[in-house]
């Protein structure tokens, strides 16, 4: 039985999530993968204002295919999360609480998730067509020059994910 989560996910709901829980997310999530993470971290290093407030937010590691004229978004499954391991602690220190990607993360990253009482969710890799059906709206809000890697604000309904690292630092892998 999946747990229904509405964004913004409040602290108690997030902390209650346990490894292996299947969830359905409804609300707002932001996309960012390799290049966007580099830009966000570079901006923080220069004390610039970020394109969106990270406080309590959800970041999804995805670079979608282009939307056709009748679609909100193209195929949009997760990319491997380990490549974001060096950036995520910096973003969690700024308030990021939920990350969605796929695959294992480093031991150091698990410790950071625990420290910030954040959670790491996984979506199933390679099911981008199915996941695209849960995205009702997508708007590029930063770094349009990055194309697929631009930051998009997504409105999703019942986006399926699995808790892979919970706020106590338990990992599914």
């Amino acid at each position: 039985m999946e747990l229904l989560l509405k964004t913004p996910i409040n602290d108690s709901d997030r902390i209650a999530l346990k490894v292996g829980d299947e969830v359905l997310i409804t609300g707002t999530i932001y996309t960012a993968r390799d290049a966007a993470h580099q830009n966000l971290v570079d901006s923080l290093a220069k004390s610039e204002i970020l394109p969106f407030d990270l406080q309590g937010q959800i970041v999804y590691y995805v670079g979608p295919t282009p939307a056709k004229p009748n679609q909100a978004i193209g195929s949009c499954g997760p990319t491997s999360s380990y490549r974001m391991d060096k950036f995520s602690p910096i973003l969690m220190a700024e308030g990021l609480k939920v990350m969605i990607g796929k695959g294992e993360r480093s031991i150091e990253l698990i410790e950071e998730v625990k420290k910030h009482q954040a959670v790491y969710l996984i979506a199933i890799g390679g099911i981008g067509a199915l996941l695209s059906k849960t995205v009702k709206k997508a708007e590029v809000i930063a770094y349009p020059e990055l194309g697929s890697e631009a930051i998009r604000k997504l409105e999703v309904i019942n986006f399926p994910a699995i808790v892979a690292i919970d706020s106590r630092g338990n990992s599914i892998f």
Binding site: P64, A67, G74, S75, K102, G103, G126, S148, F173
Partner: protein, 284 residues
């Protein structure tokens, strides 16, 4: 002498790419359905169900199976009776450009590994040429995802490491990769050759039909043993545990130096997209 028009090559490549990114071959779907029936891990089974549902949605609604529409890898077999009065590589890349642009596919290629500037049309493809008898041009292509490619590995073993050394290296590669290459996998293994050739034959192994067996006995026995042992690693669908880590193992071998035992492991994710088309030349 025979010829094949440049425009036909372009149109064929474009159509193959668009088709490949949206439909899984029936032989792959059958394997996934068989794995779903057999899988004992609840989470693993649920992942397989979603993978099967995804390919239905992709096909029916014309949406790419996966957002990573890959680097395009081509194996081109050129009939010896064909003549070309144009640049075949350029024609193939023209087809790639049109396929990725008109097909609403992701452009994932950057011009230089350090400047990371996108080429904006997914060119250039990685193209391998070979010659065959006759007047046909056989095109094999696969949009190859980055996740499974990143987890692939190559090692120059010593002859004394032998068969056990090969098996251990393959198992270690797949265990270390975990969920990252999007299992269930097709595992392409190259043994022998030299440093670059072993990677080439491992890649070529991924283009073999999923239900075939290696022609060489030693390779066939390795395929059987590796598949069984890989599926005991409990990596499972997307690394969440279970008995479905690989759908198939393909081993290709080649002669090698007395000092060497090269091994390459090229991983293919469950979105095993590939196409084959044969164009027949007309009299030039």
């Amino acid at each position: 002498m025979y010829k094949i028009e440049r425009q036909l090559v372009i149109d064929t490549i474009k159509a193959m790419i668009i088709e490949a990114t949206k439909t899984l071959d029936k032989t792959i779907v059958d394997k996934l359905e068989y794995a779903f029936d057999k899988e004992v891990n609840i989470l693993g089974k649920s992942v397989l169900a979603k993978i099967i549902e995804n390919q239905k949605i992709a096909k029916e609604e014309n949406i790419p199976l996966c957002q990573d529409t890959g680097v395009l890898v081509c194996f081109i077999e050129i009939g010896r009776e064909l003549v070309f009065d144009y640049d075949l590589t350029e024609a193939i890349n023209r087809g790639v450009s049109l396929g990725y642009t008109d097909g609403y596919l992701r452009k994932s290629i950057v011009r230089h590994p350090l400047n990371r500037i996108n080429t904006l049309d997914n060119t250039p493809a990685v193209i391998h040429y070979d010659f065959i008898e006759g007047n046909e041009l056989v095109i094999h292509l696969a949009p190859k995802g980055g996740g499974s490619e990143n987890m692939s590995s190559l090692k120059m073993l010593s002859p004394a490491d032998g068969r056990d050394g090969i098996i251990n290296f393959v198992l270690e590669t797949i265990k270390n990769a975990g969920g990252k290459p999007c299992p269930p996998l097709i595992v392409g293994v190259g043994i022998g050759g030299n440093f670059e050739h072993v990677a080439y034959i491992a890649k070529k192994a991924l283009f073999r039909p999923i239900n075939d067996q290696a022609k060489v006995l030693e390779d066939r026995l390795l395929e059987e043993e590796l598949l069984e042992r890989i599926n005991k690693l409990n990596v499972g669908p997307m690394g969440l545990g279970g008995i479905t880590t690989a759908l198939a193992v393909k081993v290709n071998s080649a002669p090698c130096h007395i000092a060497a035992l090269p091994v390459a492991v090229n991983l293919q994710c469950h979105s095993a997209r590939k196409k084959e088309v044969t164009l027949v030349g007309t009299i030039a």
